[in-house]
């Protein structure tokens, strides 16, 4: 596998850069709203936040509760690098670079395995 960068990837890199930056800014904005709501409610950050419950996030956001925005932002932050991987996977797929597609898929599988390991170890 040639790991040197060739001209064929030059349009992929700026697209992935935009994806990373957009993901980061949107996620950090959500965390920012959650932090403001937390401070406005007079809750100490050391009070011990509620555990992650993905199903509760929409209801928490609709009710203006800080944990909804905080968890959605944190999940967005954690998902942004994987989003970049999905973007790279699509980009390499379009170029017919099957080896890089396989590498991207394998990394996504390993990241997903982290969730499984967490569940099994819990």
């Amino acid at each position: 596998m040639d790991l040197r960068v060739d001209r064929s990837t030059t349009d992929l890199e700026p697209a992935l850069a935009r994806l990373l930056q957009a993901g980061t800014y949107v996620s950090i904005a959500l965390v920012g709203i959650g932090t403001l709501l937390l401070l406005a409610a007079g809750i100490s950050p050391l009070a011990g936040g509620p555990p992650l419950d993905v199903g509760e996030i929409p209801a928490d956001i609709a009710a203006g509760r800080p944990e909804g925005f905080l968890w959605l932002g944190i999940l967005g932050i954690c998902a942004t690098p994987s989003l970049r991987l999905v973007g790279a996977l699509i980009g390499f797929w379009r170029r017919g670079e099957q080896r890089m597609v396989a590498v991207a898929l394998l990394i996504l599988v390993v990241v997903a395995a982290g969730v499984v390991v967490g569940l099994l170890a819990g």
């Binding site: 790991l3 040197r4 890199e13 932002g73 999940l75 991987l85 790279a88 390991v117 170890a121």
Partner: protein, 271 residues
């Protein structure tokens, strides 16, 4: 906490270090948080700074996407292993490991001071200063990229180690990734630093997944800290070139050594 995050982000950005090295001691020694919870929070902050700076590096085409993705596979695998081990190890052992890491970074920085190296050591997530944009040029140094790919298995092994360290200690792991790419594969230092930044996001998100599922991340603590680190890193990258990095490094080495002593005390059950 917000102010501490700003300080950690700014310090890390100006000195070319990730926030992780400072966030974990800040939260454990400063706010009395359990070490594992501090590591979980730090991992989220590391992803924030990594994604923001990796975006810049990709735009400049300084990061090697292909190499980064191949090595990411191994750092992510190491991160899962580290994430699973982290919940089995005694917190005092983790504190001891962190103390060793802090001393190592302090000694490395002291060496850099003696040599009067103009550039910050590429140790962790590095937020590129704005002044670098012009120097890198639109094509970066892509033409220099002829790598010793026959030594890829050794680099893969090093990457697994970087992943384990990242998950155990809540750091980006650039301390290991950059030397591995530079010394083992012959990747130019600047490209190695940029590629390491790209990889850190995936490494930290793989271990953060384990921490998320196991309840090792507190949203109330992570929110203000992540915002602080993001603001601090942004400020640091804009103001860094106006500050005397040398005197800041001397101060930072002192902070690192003091923190290492406190962490060692915690490890020995004295703190």
């Amino acid at each position: 906490m917000l102010a501490g995050g700003v300080a950690a982000g700014a310090f890390g950005s100006i000195l070319g270090l990730g926030g992780g090295l400072l966030i974990v001691p800040l939260l454990t020694l400063g706010f009395g948080l359990p070490l594992r919870e501090a590591v979980g929070c730090s991992l989220v902050c590391v992803i924030v700074t990594s994604s923001a700076s990796a975006g810049v590096y990709l735009q400049r085409r300084q990061a090697n996407l292909r190499l980064g993705m191949v090595l990411e596979l191994f750092t992510a695998a190491g991160a899962i292993v580290g994430g699973a081990i982290a919940f089995l190890i005694d917190e005092r052992v983790l504190a001891g490991l962190f103390a060793v890491l802090l001393v190592y970074v302090a000694v490395t920085m002291l060496g850099g001071l003696r040599q009067q190296a103009p550039a910050a050591p590429a140790t962790d997530v590095e937020t590129p200063p704005p002044s670098d944009t012009a120097a890198a040029g639109p094509g970066g140094d892509r033409e220099d990229r002829g790598y010793a790919t026959e030594r890829l298995p050794l680099a893969a092994l090093g990457s697994v180690g970087a992943g384990v360290a990242s998950a155990l200690l809540g750091i980006g792991g650039g301390l290991i990734k950059v030397p591995v790419m530079h010394l083992v594969l012959g990747v130019p230092l600047r490209v190695a630093t940029a590629t390491s930044n790209l990889m850190i996001g995936i490494t930290a998100s793989a271990s953060a997944a384990v921490y998320l599922v196991r309840g090792g991340i507190d949203a109330y603590v992570t929110g203000p800290t992540a915002i602080g680190v993001f603001v601090g890193a942004t400020l640091g990258s804009r103001l860094g070139h106006r500050i005397s990095v040398r005197s800041l490094r001397v101060l930072f080495v002192a902070v690192l050594l003091y923190t290492a002593v406190e962490m060692a005390r915690k490890a020995l059950g004295l703190g």
